[in-house]
Amino acid sequence: MKTLLQRTLGPLTAVTLALTVWLGIWVTPPDKVQGDLARMLYIHPALAWVALYVSFGTVVVASALYLWPRTRSLTVDRVAEAALEVSIVFIALTLITGSLWGRPAWGVWWVWDARLTSTAIMGVLELGIIALRRANLDPDIRARRSAVLALVSALNVIIIHFSVTWWQTLHQSASVLAPGGKLEVHGSMLWTMLLSFVAFTLLFSWLTRERYRLSVRRAGRTSDVLQAALAQRQAEGVPR
């Protein structure tokens, strides 16, 4: 039984995204200080929000649920796997859009700004979890270990965040502001930005759902292949 949200998730996502882009590029005014560059406001913060909190949060919660015996299930493991993959995509986009936003402002493509650096390390942490998921292990053990690694990574994200913040402030490089730091956001800019948050969160949900379905389909296919092979072997079998 599909709920209304499940049925409309795809179209809703498409509509909100299209609306965001239209508003962001054509309708909203350029900023007083940053001019048109400020239009990054309608994609970068939302991407970062989804990457750092929504998707990774989903991975962490799903992992915790897998480790708790009462809620352990294949479904939960697949949700973790799906959210993880989508998470990587969003983190990569966060870094790319952050870099594109910063380049005109800083003159370079990358600075060891606390936020960028923490995000980059978090991306690599997630790559590590994906690497572990590809290891040739018993499925349940692999699921458990990935879940453990996800939880430890959550702890690490906190450690990394504080350590990089202190590292950066002590380092006293040219006082670097996050690109959106000095923006005054109000009126249509604010609404569009909020809409972008909704749009990208919906997109995350849709992509994760599709990726989850891919896992289910794969598993079904594997057992189909297995069944077919068994049936063939039986047909060839010599009666004893």
């Binding site: 040739n136 053990i141 453990v148 430890v152 702890l155 450690i159 990394i160 350590s163 202190w166 590292w167």
Partner: protein, 219 residues
Amino acid sequence: MMRVAWLVARKDLRIETRSRVLLWQVLPFGVIALILSGLAVGPNDDAMRHAAPGLFYLVILLVVLFMIGRAQAVEAPAGTRTSVTMLGGDPAGIFLGKTLALALELIVTAAVLLAGVVVLLHAPLAGTASAIPSVLLTLGALAAGGTLYGALVAGADVQATLLPIIALPPFAGLLIVGEKSFAAAVAGQSSVKWLLFLSVSLLAYLAVGILLYGVTEES
């Protein structure tokens, strides 16, 4: 739990002293890595001295990877891993024991590397000595985290390449804080904030390891 920990630590350390991998392979590697660091950064004296804390920890991270691989490898033959758990070995105790053994081996290595940093990279002796508390805490956190990550990759056929990918990103945070507290000690500044942070990190890793180490294995 503590009794199991003690037994496991003694077992690991005994294996280490018999095989002497630490002495003949890990330490020489550490020294070579330090020399390479000096070559990469020097010969400008100021550059080397400035980079010394960071380079020290960079080499330590590489050394830890070797040692973790080793700590898990000694479990592999004759199904030692399964037998310990089957005999009712408390996983938390195993975790603590392996962490302790790894930490001690790291401390020995660090002592040699610190001497190397003073001699080769011209880090000031007094400053380096005052960095020792922060170094100990950082090594403890590395040992705890390292033991946990080692368990996560154990038994996978791509173990050797998987471990660095999993362990190095988290260690980056410890690298940063370790380096900063070392540098602060050398400069004679107060490092209370760093020590506090390191202590909290160490406790967090220990807690997570105690809680989750067993999960990685049971079926």
